[in-house]
């Protein structure tokens, strides 16, 4: 949006210029020359040359040449071009003057996008983090959300899965809801979107994060978790010429951090320490005890893979309009061997605007996305592909050659249902553990038996008209839309590995989802400076949105393991070929949805003398009756903010040189926002769910339908609201070389929607009430230093933010809400996530491990009275807060160096203070593989100062594994990128008709510093808010080596 102001300047410059060129008849001394850009030494077209004190002027032609007749040889000329520093030059009798234009990087002209408008950065009163397109252009991530990671303080990006095509989630200033509706409002070019994964970072001009409530208040009920505003690129010319660029990346991907689990011999040793007679067990399972064959399941599962990316951009711009179009193709095959984890995406972006008359401008931004993805299962206890990669013992071979190798169990199955025992593509049978019968079996079978595919097509666009009837007033009408279509297909066959890893039925399913969304917004901005010192900015507007979804799904299952299709070949695996057998159960679904909202909003900004700013925002929001009843649907969200530009005060300007202190500003704001996404499906009423239940009488299986009230009605429901206070200080020193920014925020969220139980005698199901409050507060610190040493340009920037998260109130009738028993469904660990006053939200509630008894090697625990006890003395009431998955601080560091054609950048980010609870070990299935940590640190007669108990002591102790002994520090620092680039000198590239050619090589996510013994600490966590922080096998972040090149024509 920087371009808006630049553009206006450009228009006036050219206008003046045209006047001048016609009046140069009487000149006497000719000056000519070439004007080139200091950035790339390219000739510049359309640079204005003006003889000082006259109306005499000229502009450069297509080759950057100019010629001007000045009055005499001592004349002075001024050359100017938008975005470059103007230069005043004495002719001094020279006939040829070649000029090098320098880019103007003066910060004061920078504008930032705020809701429904832009503001000068110097006028900003709220806490807005601005990430420039240049900051993220060379990242290897293909997800705009992930690109924000580590780039600004107060923003946490959660990559809860490293799988291809998995979008990152964003948390702004903490966690302010007990629900999982914690993501910020995402706005791209004015359009509200539900994800920004489709947006390649290379298409982004800027990302603004509205962190404080006052800035976000203009988005009212949807802005309680902050707002991310993204502006895609508008077309620009390269020194007056169209610009065509092509770039590609080839990315080699492999597993980053390897988990520290047992190899064959160590595993045997560990099980012996656990009390098993491994000699006998090995013997009976056909394993050579002394020289066991070893399978490294991690290596079997993960391998190298390649991702490729191509991007072509065409752009141009002039005083009448701009054009930007880009096509981006991505093909990513993840690091799980085979083609079951893939993501392909083809996106096209088309941005254009045109000034029809001086008072009307129209434009459109359109993005077209086509994607397809396949995923392996993870983050679950059953049917997971990644859990067995970590858990299957290393003695089990990958494949078996013959039926004789089978487990007894499989032999029994094979005898009756041979088709249940599946063969791999190499013709061998998938092997599974003989030591551990109750598990997910062979991870490769878990991978191969799945065939789920998703794909979709989405068009997102906006079209707008800006009317400019009088000076300072711009009226905008903007229509934005999303048309999305998604298709899912799945087919699965029965299989058998063991009592748990099996499926008895054939199944097939398909679904088609069509969604249409539009928003129509009309708003008017008025900006005017009155009597020199009084700046007024005002905005008023309205918005109406409508979202329609229509989803059709169908599936069929072969009851009792019967086949469901009319043929077995692959070309029959579609719903059309489902047979009509009695044993084939079919099900269908369709429920069109509609939701709407209406909002009015306004803003008033007043600045006096560039010193004092005052800003008010106000928004009134109403949502449809599926969220709140019509008499309670309007929510009102005010905010106020003040700014004091101290560096413009006389006592500063008179006393401190601007070379030392160039800028100092204090900001303070207060505002209120809502979170409406927690409400859905008419939660405030309880009509009759008609014919939603059934019973069968006698031995007739026919269903007799029944009906019941859908719940206990709560007509007083309202949305969650947050109030936030923010204080900030922006400083720049040494001619803007050093910039510092400091913020403190305190955010209270109240009226959390809590699902609660009334007393059971009243009602045994849950009902929803507004109860509960959360406080988030913290400091945010950003610093950057920018300078050069000779030809070496460098800049260093860093950010650091802290977060303190507390539940400050919970409903009188509830002391604690517990969720996610065992962390993930299907585990039998006793840990749970709990929500309780005085604690971090959804903390880990488990037993408090208090170290080893040095004499006996037994595990010790602290009970609720603070006494040290053994595990058999523990009971439910001894469970306590052992930690939280929420980081207490997050930070990022970026270093950029440039020397002649070489550029080098390092970017790292990290978190600290968070915990990971590893739930992979199960006390009732102790023959799984597990973390070597528990043997390496185990107590023994020779290691009495150990941190972990004697192995035998806890091998089958469920309390121990349900204690803080299973919890690890989640701190990590990751070097997200190290990139080295080289831009060939122009003199060389010109010869091959290229404007620019840059090669680069980059290491992404390559180095991770962490004490976590599991896989990647960044992704080793389940993602949902009520149960984050559990590691049960997650697709890790891939470490990448990227080779790329970009060509400009």
């Amino acid at each position: 949006m920087k371009n808006v102001i630049k553009k206006n300047q450009k228009i006036s410059c050219l206008f003046v210029l045209m006047l001048f060129t016609s009046m140069s008849a009487w000149a006497q001394f000719q000056v000519k020359g070439t004007i080139v850009s200091g950035i790339d030494s390219e000739p510049m077209i359309g640079v204005a040359i003006l003889e000082n004190g006259t109306n005499n002027g000229a502009i450069t032609d297509l080759t950057g040449n100019y010629s001007i007749q000045v009055r005499n040889s001592n004349a002075t000329i001024t050359v100017s071009f938008v975005g470059f520093k103007s230069q005043t030059i004495q002719v001094n009798g020279r006939n040829v003057i070649n000029i090098n234009m320098e880019e103007d990087t003066k910060l004061i002209d920078e504008v930032v996008v705020v809701g429904y408008g832009v503001q000068k950065k110097s006028d900003i009163t709220g806490a807005i983090a601005s990430v420039n397109g240049d900051d993220i252009k060379n990242l290897s991530t293909v997800d705009a959300g992930a690109a924000l990671q580590g780039k600004a303080a107060g923003i946490q990006v959660l990559n809860s899965s490293g799988a291809p095509g998995q979008g990152a989630s964003i948390r702004i200033r903490g966690y302010s809801s007990n629900s999982d509706k914690l993501g910020p409002l995402l706005i791209v070019d004015g359009l509200k979107v539900d994800n920004i994964q489709y947006l390649d970072p290379s298409m982004i001009a800027s990302m603004e994060v509205l962190k404080d409530a006052a800035s976000a208040a203009i988005y009212g009920a949807q802005a309680g978790n902050g707002v991310v505003l993204i502006t895609t690129k508008t077309g620009n010319s390269a020194n007056g010429r169209p610009k065509i660029t092509y770039s590609f990346k080839a990315i080699n991907q492999r597993l980053g951090k390897t988990p520290e689990i047992f190899g064959a011999k160590d595993w045997i040793k560990y099980k012996e320490l656990s009390g098993y007679d491994m000699k006998t067990l090995c013997q009976s399972n056909g394993v050579d005890y002394d020289n066991p064959q070893e399978t490294d399941w991690i290596k079997e599962v993960f391998g190298d893979s390649w991702a490729t990316q191509h991007s072509v951009t065409f752009q141009d711009g002039n005083d009448k309009g701009h054009f930007f179009t880009s096509v981006n193709y991505l093909n990513n095959d993840g690091i799980v061997r085979g083609k079951k984890d893939t993501y392909t995406r083809l996106t096209g972006q088309l941005n254009a605007d045109y000034q029809l008359y001086s008072w009307i401008k129209v434009g459109t931004n359109t993005s077209i996305e086509k994607w397809a993805t396949r995923n392996v299962t993870h983050q679950s206890a059953y049917g997971s592909m990644l859990a067995p990669a970590l858990l299957l013992d290393p003695l089990t071979p990958v494949y078996w050659d013959s039926v004789d190798d089978f487990t007894t169990d499989m032999k029994e199955q094979y005898a009756t249902n041979p088709e249940l025992i599946r063969k791999a593509a190499n013709g061998k049978y998938y092997a599974t553990s003989k030591f551990q019968m109750d598990d997910n079996g062979n991870p490769l079978l878990q991978r191969d038996r799945r065939n789920a595919k998703s794909s979709g097509f989405t068009v997102r666009g906006t079209a707008f008209a800006d009317l400019n009837p009088i000076d300072g007033l711009v009226m905008t009408s903007r229509f934005s839309y999303i048309i999305a279509q998604t298709n899912n297909h799945d087919y699965a066959e029965p299989y058998y590995m063991n009592g748990q890893a099996k499926a008895t039925d054939y199944s097939i399913s398909a679904s088609a989802n069509n969604n249409h969304y539009y928003q129509w917004e009309n708003f008017a901005n008025f900006n005017k400076t009155l009597f020199e010192k009084h700046n007024i900015g005002a905005m008023i507007g309205m918005s109406y949105t409508e979202y329609r979804s229509d989803n059709v799904s169908a599936s069929a299952t072969g009851t009792g393991g019967n086949k469901i299709l009319s043929g077995d070949a692959n070309n029959f695996k579609y719903l059309d070929y489902v047979n009509s057998a009695e044993t084939t159960t079919k099900s269908i679904g369709n429920l069109p949805g509609l939701s709407t909202s209406l909002s009015y909003f306004g803003r008033f900004l007043y600045t006096y003398d560039n010193r004092y700013s005052l800003q008010f925002n106000y928004r009134a929001d109403a949502f449809d009756t599926s969220k709140l009843p019509s008499d309670k649907r309007w929510g009102k969200f005010p905010s106020v903010a003040v700014g004091w530009n101290i560096s413009n005060e006389k006592f500063i300007t008179n006393n401190i040189s601007s070379d030392l202190l160039s800028f100092l500003k204090f900001r303070a704001s207060w505002g209120r926002n809502g979170n409406v996404s927690v409400l859905s499906n008419y939660p405030y009423i309880s009509p009759i769910s008609y014919n939603a239940s059934w019973y069968q009488y006698g031995d007739d299986p026919a269903q007799h339908y029944g009906s019941y009230p859908s719940g206990l009605a709560n007509p007083n429901l309202k949305w969650e609201t947050s109030e936030q206070l923010d204080f900030g200080l922006d400083m720049r020193f040494f001619n803007d070389r050093l910039a510092l920014s400091l913020d403190y925020f305190n955010k209270d969220t109240k009226d959390l929607l809590i699902s609660t139980n009334p007393v059971p005698e009243v009602y045994v199901n849950t009902t929803i009430v507004n109860a509960g409050e959360i406080n988030n507060r913290g400091f945010e610190f950003e610093a950057s230093w920018k300078d050069h040493i000779g030809d070496l340009k460098y800049n260093i920037s860093g950010n650091f933010s802290t977060l303190r998260n507390r539940v400050t109130y919970l409903y009188d009738d509830i002391t604690r809400i517990t969720g996610n028993k065992g962390g993930v469904d299907g585990t039998n660990n006793m840990v749970c996530s709990a929500f309780e006053e005085g604690h971090s939200i959804w903390y880990f509630r488990a037993y408090d491990y208090a170290g080893v008894n040095k004499e006996t090697g037994a595990a010790q625990f602290r009970n609720h009275e603070g006494k040290i006890v053994s595990s058999s003395e523990l009971s439910d009431q001894d469970m306590t807060d052992i930690g939280s998955a929420i980081p207490r601080f997050t930070y990022g560091l970026t270093i950029n160096l440039e020397y002649k054609g070489l550029d080098f950048s390092v970017f790292g980010t990290g978190v600290g203070g968070n915990k990971i609870f590893n739930i992979l070990y199960r006390a009732d299935t102790p023959m799984r593989n597990s973390l070597k940590y528990y043997m390496d640190n185990a107590w023994s007669e020779t290691n009495k100062n150990a941190s972990m108990p004697a192995v035998a002591n806890v091998a089958q102790d469920r309390y121990f594994w349900s204690s803080s002994a299973s919890m690890f520090k989640g701190d990590y620092f990751k070097i997200k990128q190290i990139q080295l680039g080289y831009t060939l000198p122009k003199t060389l590239t010109k010869r091959i008709a290229l404007k620019e050619l840059r090669f680069f090589v980059s290491l992404d996510d390559f180095f991770t510093f962490s004490s976590y013994p599991g896989m990647d600490p960044e992704t080793a966590t389940t993602s949902n808010n009520g149960g984050g922080g559990y590691d049960i096998g997650t697709y890790p972040t891939m470490k990448k080596c990227t080779f790329g090149a970009s060509f400009a024509f």
Partner: protein, 558 residues
């Protein structure tokens, strides 16, 4: 000028919007006020009550059924078992009397019973019994409400009486009925009796519909049991005699006794009421179907088959070994019954387990006893043994292949009352009062004869009834309440101590032939076992007492 005009036209749009576009009708529901009106509505609401009964009482917990588990685990005839100490602890806490008010089985049972009461009250508050159908519907709801309160009284002494829909903010108290525990039982009996007139009667012993819903026979059984528990033996006798003389129920023949606890016994002549769950292929298994049955209970309640050398052929799914039979009880029953079909269908001795039972691995090989003794294909292979097993192998509820048609879960009805319990309760009521026509003794003998027991009572005494009931009704959720009301709780004071594990010396000690032996352990150093005056009634769930100051905690939860 043009720009001003066009711009003003633009302004005209600016604030034009219709708020009525925000009013969107909810799909798939009808208003509360339009329901509970017609006969069809009444029957429809009743169908929902039966679903509620299935979900709240017969299922919904996934790996166990809370109500029978709660009353079984506290008995003096079983052991909580599993893979090891701490496994299946929700049940072991009750078995070893080390539970507190947060025990999930206690909570789930309590929640389930009040869940049924809520759905009963929806009918009774909203439907006027003005037509014959509405009268019957209300009577069925009334009976189920009485049964739920009776089970609450048996489990918790004086739980709140809830005879109408309460306000969300209500905090009901216990002792709401005059007479406390007995007063509540009296209320249950009267309610059930009052419903009898409007209820259908089971048409005949072969009427399966009549075994899947509330009938006159069920209401009278509820009334009889409530009276028996409050010590009104004459009243109980009167109620139960009507069930017997109705001739709508019969004991199944001896050879079908084992089937009573499996799918093939569902809705048979002996069933008075079962929560019905039938396979319907048109309904997906996860569409609220597996939630209304024992679901994975067949695995939880089954032996730990992965620790055996091979799977016994009579077993359907693999198991997690959640329960076993106590050795002292097994020996008593063995002495009483001998090798009766009932005894063999209740548990196997070690020898029967090893050599009479058919193993999949040796199936069809016709091995001799001597060959079997040396075969590595049978026995308890795992060196950790079978935890909680005392040398006997309970098989009454171990799921058969017929119960396991779905692979690892099945659809099997939960029995609420079977006729044998009626006969035994009647015999008890007679033993406590008089047995003028000899019907009481006959009832007792009918049970014994049918069991094929070696013992036949010649006299109707309380001891004879007590013994017989403990054998016939093993693990049918009646033993612990009987122990409490009879004061026979000495058998559980040492629960949680000396927990047995059964090993096979053939595998653990490399002995040449199979030999089962039991070792005991004391994994829990804390307080376990039944304490008189404390454990007669279960704790009120913490989740209920913590938000209700009017609900007074029982001693066991303090």
């Amino acid at each position: 000028m043009r720009k001003i005009i066009y711009s003003l036209l633009g302004v005209a749009f600016l604030f034009s919007a219709c708020e009525d576009r925000l009013d969107i009708e909810q799909k798939g529901v009808i208003s509360f006020d339009s329901f509970y009106k017609t006969d069809d509505d009444a029957q429809n609401a009743l169908n929902n009550l039966y679903q509620s009964f299935c979900l709240n009482i017969a299922g919904n917990e996934g790996i166990y059924v809370a109500l029978p588990l709660l009353f079984d685990e506290a008995g003096d005839d079983m052991l909580a078992a599993g893979n090891m100490y701490g496994d299946n602890d929700f049940g072991a806490q009750i078995n070893e009397f080390r539970y507190d008010s947060q025990n999930e089985v206690i909570k789930n049972t309590y929640w389930g019973l009040y869940g049924v009461i809520y759905d009963c009250n929806l009918i009774l508050d909203n439907i006027e019994p003005t037509t014959s159908i509405k009268k019957r519907v209300c009577a069925e709801a009334r009976t189920l409400r009485a049964w739920s309160h009776m089970m609450l009284a048996i489990g918790w002494d004086c739980p709140p009486l809830v005879d109408h829909i309460l306000n969300p903010s209500d905090k009901p108290a216990n002792n709401a009925v005059e007479g406390g525990h007995n007063g509540l039982l009296e209320w249950c009996a009267k309610e059930a009796e009052a419903a009898v007139a409007d209820l259908d009667e089971r048409e005949s012993p072969s009427d399966k519909v009549g075994a899947s819903k509330v009938t006159k026979g069920f209401a009278l059984t509820v009334a009889g049991k409530a009276r028996l528990f409050k010590g009104d033996y004459a009243g109980a006798k009167a109620n139960l005699e009507q069930v017997i003389t109705s001739k709508k129920y019969e004991l199944v023949p001896t050879e079908r006794w084992p089937n009573l606890f499996h799918a093939s016994g569902d809705l048979c002549e002996e069933m008075i009421f079962q929560a019905n769950a039938l396979e319907n292929a048109a309904v997906g298994d996860w569409s609220n179907k597996i939630q209304r049955t024992s679901w994975m209970w067949i695995q939880f309640w089954n032996w730990r088959t992965d620790k055996l050398a091979s799977k016994p052929s009579f077993i359907g799914p693999d198991g997690w070994g959640g329960h076993s039979i106590r050795a002292d009880f097994a020996e008593r029953m063995l002495a009483n019954d001998g090798n009766s079909p009932r005894r063999k269908a209740t548990f196997l001795t070690g020898d029967e387990f090893l050599y009479e039972m058919e193993w999949n691995s040796t199936k069809g090989e016709n091995l001799t006893r001597a060959e079997l003794e040396k075969s590595p294909k049978i026995g308890i292979k795992d060196p950790t043994g079978l935890y909680g097993f005392a040398g006997y192998f309970a098989n009454k509820f171990v799921a058969w292949p017929e119960d396991n048609e779905k692979g690892w879960y099945g659809f099997k009805n939960l029995t609420i009352f079977r006729y044998a319990e009626v006969l035994l309760m009647y015999a008890e009521a007679c033993a406590q009062t008089s047995d003028p026509n000899g019907l009481g003794l006959k009832c007792l003998q009918d049970i014994q004869k049918r069991a094929g027991s070696a013992h036949l009572s010649t006299e109707l005494t309380m001891q004879e009834v007590k013994n017989e009931k403990s054998y016939e009704m093993w693990l049918e959720a009646v033993r612990f309440p009987d122990m409490v009301r009879w004061g026979d709780t000495d058998g559980v004071v040492n629960n949680g101590k000396n927990i047995p594990t059964t090993y096979d010396a053939f595998f653990t000690k490399n002995e040449p032939i199979h030999r089962l032996y039991v070792e005991t352990s004391n994994p829990n150093k804390g307080q376990t076992g039944f304490v008189k005056g404390k454990h007669e009634y279960f704790a009120y769930p913490f989740a209920a007492t913590s938000i209700n100051p009017n609900l007074k905690q029982n001693p066991s939860g303090e």
